[in-house]
Each structure stands twice: as C-alpha cells, then as structure tokens.
Amino acid sequence: MNAENAPKTLAGGAPAAPAAVAPAITLIEAITQALAYEMRQDPTVLVLGEDVGVNGGVFRATAGLQQQFGPERVLDTPLDETTIAGLTVGLAAQGMKPVAESQFDGFVYPMVDHIVCHAARFRYRTRGRLTCPMVLRVPWGGGIRAPEHHSEANEAIFTNVPGLRVVMPSSPARAYGMLLAAIRDPDPVIFMEPKRIYRQYKEVVPDDGEALPLDVCYVLRDGSDVTLVTWGAQVKETLEAADRLAAEGIGAEVIDVATLKPLDFATIAESVAKTGRCVIVHEAPKTAGFGAEIAARLAEESMYDLLAPVERVTGYDTHIPLFRLEMKYLPSVERIVAAAKRTLAAG
C-alpha cells in the first residue's frame, strides 16, 4: 500500500481498452460494482447505513445489493450517525469488514468521535490486539443543487487525525479500484465520493476485482510548465483548465491526489521539480483546507524548485451557500487558469 512500488502514472482521459462485455459505467455504478464484487468474494463484508437496503441508498450506491445479498449483509440502520459509527467500529473489531455510509457529507460530524477516538486508535491502543478494518463512504461536495448540509467539502476534518486513510476517487475506474483497496485495507478508510461527478461520464470498468493502489497520487496529464494539484470533483475543472492552458501553449501537469492521507508528496515534489510552479485546487474553504498541507510541504521540501509562489484556488472561507449561489463559491475553470497564469507571470 506504499508509494514506492506502486504505479503512479495513468492516462487520465485515455479510455481503457473495452472489455468483451463490460459496459461503460458511471462513478456511482463503479461504487456499486466494487461493493458487489467484494461482498461476493469476502463473506465478512457488509454494508450498513440509512436507506441502504430496499431503497439502495439515496444516491443508489447500494442499489440491488440487499436483493442480492440479503438483509443480513445490507443493513438499514436506525436514523443516527453516532449509531452507525459506533456499530461499525464494534463490527470491525469483531471480525467483520463493515462498509458504512454517511448519507451526505454534512452528516458525518456525529461520527467524528467514534472515528477519531476509536476507529483510528484500536490498533494503536491495543498494540495490535484489536483492529478496525472499516470503510466509511461519504458522498462529498457541492454542486448538485441540494439542500443545506448536503454539499460539504469537509475532508480536512479527518486529515490531522493519525491512523486514518482519507481517500477520494475522481473517476469510475479509480472509484472501483480504490474502493476495493479500501475495503481490503486492514485499517480504517474514510472514502469520500465526489457526488457532483457521480453520473458525469461513463468509463469501461471491468469487474475483475483488481484493486488500485491507495497512498499514491495519480498523474492524469503530463506537462512541464505548471503543476495543478487537486482531488475529487475539482479534477474536472482542473483538467478543463489544463485544456485551456494547452490551447495557449502552456503545458499543465495535472495530479489527482486521490489519497489525501497518507499523502504521496513525492509525486507532487517530482512534478514541481520539473515545472517550478504549483496551483492547488480544492472545493473546501481555503484556510486550513488540505491544500495547506501540500503548500506547506512545498515550502519545506521544494522551495529551491519553486520559480513562483504557490497558489491555492479554493472555496472561500465561508460556508458553501444554498444552491442559488453555490456555483459562485466553487472554484471555476477561470480562477484556475488565472492562477496558473499568475505563477507563470511571476517566475
């Protein structure tokens, strides 16, 4: 699961070779496919959360699973996130591999106590006697015109917590491969799913049970002028910004961080060593968002490589507004392009 011996470069836009039968699927369908695969293959895997059963989850991530695996593998919980988190920790410590769902990002806060005080610590606290191999799936982020508390980019709340993995796929293929890896991981994983791109496009994702590595960044596009670092739904805007920059003759390297914690800084550092410029893009509020950690590592370890100040293009330091204004809050392609150009002008 470590960075050293894992493949890091992946043709982002390049379509995977279509399998004989595998149809192209969306990110959310890739999640379902991964859950079903792992449930078939590991009888200890179970899914729990609000409305995950007959209803298949409010986003349909668990659609069909209860019908396929029965109500003892796909459990509707009482309406309480503390309950979900606490039961999940207990299940994981006693031989199960629970995959819990937080219905939306904004409902993850009551889970924080059990995640931070217990899931992240069972192995540490007991010197390995008890462990907590669980996954918490969190539909994440804004841009779907949803009500309050349904649009939050709150990954930073977990990134200072030792013992966790914080993972965020940004394509159907990575959703499938990284969710398999997350479920198989012997430690707790917070698996955040950019809901804005749940159904944005389809990709052929063979249901072959092949996990993708965690703990590594994915280089989605090569470029030598500026490094654009991002994750989650903003990968879309960032790739678009790279296209626009390319049209102006500027080569932008695009890195999908994919696993925020532990961070594969080596891949970022390598890119910045080449480009000398870095723009970090994320949806969350700027101050103490996870982009700060990446910029900090650059300030510590890549200062002599930097030809221009680091830029962060992020959500503002305010709550994401209700949906009439939310698109004004989210980082836009324009803002990314402008920041990239500033780094080029500065150097």
């Binding site: 509707d76 309480d80 949803a146 009500p147 309050e148 305010t318 204004l325 939310e326 004004k328 803002r335």
Partner: protein, 357 residues
C-alpha cells in the same frame, strides 16, 4: 416480586377516521366553531403543499419536503403555542410555522436555495429549519433552559420524526429536559417512515412516546390525524411545562402521504395498499365530515375557500419567483458580525471575479 417502578402511556383520540367522535370531547371543543379557523388553515396548507410540489416538478424550486397528511398535527401544534414561545421545526412543519407568522414565500425561498428564507418575518426568535435530524430538539432544550433560568413563562416546542426519535440528539434533549425539568415539548411526528425505513426498523419500543420515560418526562401518544387530539395533547403538555412541571414527549401518529421529498420515489419501498389505507385515515376528510355534520361547513364554503387559498398561494409563489438572487457578497456578509481581513479580501476578490464575467 419487588417493583421499582410502573408506567402507563395514554393514547388520545376524539374523532375516528370516519369523522365521528369516539370519546367525550375536551371542554374547549364542545363548541366545534373553535375548530373552523384551524380546519381552514389545514386546507390552506394542503393547497400550498401541492403547489410547491408542482413548482418543483417544473424546475422552479429545489428539493421540497411535502407535508401531505401531516396537516392536523402541524396546525394543531402551531395553534397551541404563544407568540413568545419558541418553535424548533425540522423541515416540513409549514402548518405550524404559518400559524406563527412565517410566510409561504419564505418557505419557498429556503427550498429555492436562498438563505433569506430563514430570515422569517414571523417570530424572530424561532429556530430556522433544521436539516441535521433532531439536533433542533437540543436547541429547543437550550431555549427552554434559558426561559427557566430567566423565569420567563415561555415554552419551547421541537418537532422531529419517527426516524428522528432514534437520533442521539433527541435522547439528549429528553435527558436534559428531565434533568433540569425544562418547559420543553418534544413532538415526535410518527408518519410511519424515515425515507425508506419503516417505523418498525427504528426501534424495538412499542410506542415512541415511551422514550420520554428514559428522562422521566410525561409521555403521551396521540392520533395525529385528529386535530382535537393534537390540540388536547399539546394543551396538557403546555400547561405542565408552563406550571413548572417539566417536559413532555408526545408521539403523534400520522402518515406521510407523499414521497419523503421530491427527490424520493416511495414506490421503491412501500406498497400502494399501505398508502391507500392511510388515505382513509387522513386528517382533513375526517374533520370535514365532522364540521359538516355540525352544520359548520359545506361544499360551497369549501369551494370558495379553496379558490381563496389558491389565490393567496399564487401570490406567495409570485413573490418568491420575483425575488432576485442575492448578490455575491451575501456569501461573506453574514458569517461574522465583523468580517476578519482575510475574509474581506476574499469578498473583494469574489466581487472582482464577478465583475469580470
């Protein structure tokens, strides 16, 4: 056998599903005239609700949570409160809110994705709509604590659903109401479903009312489709609270006749038969029957009032549709009383960005 404690949960119902009285009516309603304005309010709410759903279906409103079937409970709760009391709604108790002065256009504005919907013209001290389930119950407990400490004769009323009664915040609210003997009424509106999860899957408790026993509160189960039972249940709880006897949990038995919200499709998880059966118990028909039998209501009156309701709701809808989007700076201007410099800089940048478009 030594017994440490015994408990009994009472059930209130006055009008049966067929509109005929099943018990002696409480004194206040022996003259049915008192019910008429509330019945009309229930009809207004239903008109509002169906028009809001239509508005969402045509793309002019965001996700909307219908209150279809809850009219007696919602209006009854609203009618039982005084202006100076504090109401802590979840997200569908429009009937209660309208009674308190919240305007339909504000409801629409909120579901239309605009924070100004929470800046009620109604009681300035009422809590806003609350999406994180049942957290409002604890805020109401905090309000009740403030009243008790300041010796104000006010009460706090919070609503949550059957699903919400599983939430730890609900338990925390009843626990603290008991510990401090707070003037708090916790209304559990049991409409049978929490999105796709039936009441039976939420808890092993026979009634949701009995949860109040965990905090030593007064507990009551009420037919929430019977306006009279709702009013009587609330009257008892309010009296108790105002006279310093502490908090109550009231379970209102009703039914969610619509999908959970407009983003939901209830056919995936519940049977048509169940819904059909629930329609035979719905709150408006039975009260109509009763009031008509009392000679207080007629088809003609209903028709005229329905027209009036339609007109009033349309006015509200137009006011909503004509409300311009907030300017970009609204994202920044209500975060702190005095925005710190970085935030002011971000505000300026956002305005500049906006100007560039």
């Amino acid at each position: 056998m030594t017994v440490a404690a015994t408990f009994e949960i009472e059930y209130l119902q006055y009008l049966g599903p067929d509109g005929a009285p099943v018990a002696d009516l409480p004194p206040a309603f022996r003259d049915a005239k008192a019910l008429l304005p509330l019945f009309k309010q229930m009809l207004f709410v239903r008109t509002f609700d169906s028009k809001a759903i239509a508005l969402q279906r045509t793309g002019k409103l965001g996700t909307y949570a219908s209150c279809l079937g809850h009219e007696a409970t919602h209006v009854g709760i609203g009618a039982s409160m005084r202006p100076e009391d504090v109401f802590a709604p979840s997200y569908r108790e429009y009937g209660a809110q309208f009674m308190r002065g919240v305007r339909p256009r504000e409801v629409l504005l909120y579901w239309g994705g605009d924070e100004r919907g929470n800046d009620f013209a109604g009681p300035k001290h009422d809590f806003a709509w609350c999406v994180p389930i049942s957290t409002q119950c604890l805020h109401a407990a905090g309000a009740a604590l403030a009243f008790k400490l300041r010796k104000e004769p006010r009460l706090a009323v919070a609503c949550c659903g059957d699903g919400g009664s599983s939430k730890t915040d609900f338990y925390a609210a009843l626990n603290s109401a008991g510990a401090y003997q707070l003037p708090l009424v916790l209304c559990v509106i049991n409409n049978g479903w929490a999105i796709s999860v039936p009441r039976s899957a939420q808890t092993g408790a026979k009634t949701l009312a009995q949860k109040g026993l965990a905090g030593g509160l007064h507990c009551l189960q009420v037919d929430g489709n019977d306006l009279i039972a709702v009013l009587e249940g609330m009257r008892r709880a309010a009296e108790r609270a105002r006279s310093g006897e502490g908090g109550s949990v009231i379970e209102f038995l009703t039914y969610r006749l619509h999908d959970h919200t407009t983003a939901d499709d209830a056919r995936r998880y519940r049977s048509e038969d169940e819904v059909k059966a629930a329609w035979t118990r719905e709150p408006i028909a039975r009260l109509r029957t009763y009031l008509t039998a009392q000679g207080l209501w007629s088809e003609a009156e209903e028709k005229a009032w329905a027209e009036e309701c339609g007109k009033r709701v349309d006015e509200e809808i137009n006011a909503y549709l004509e409300t311009p989007v907030q300017p970009v700076e609204a994202m920044f201007d209500y975060l702190y009383a005095d925005p710190p410099p970085d935030l002011r800089a971000q505000r300026a940048a956002a305005l500049a960005q906006e100007a560039r478009r």
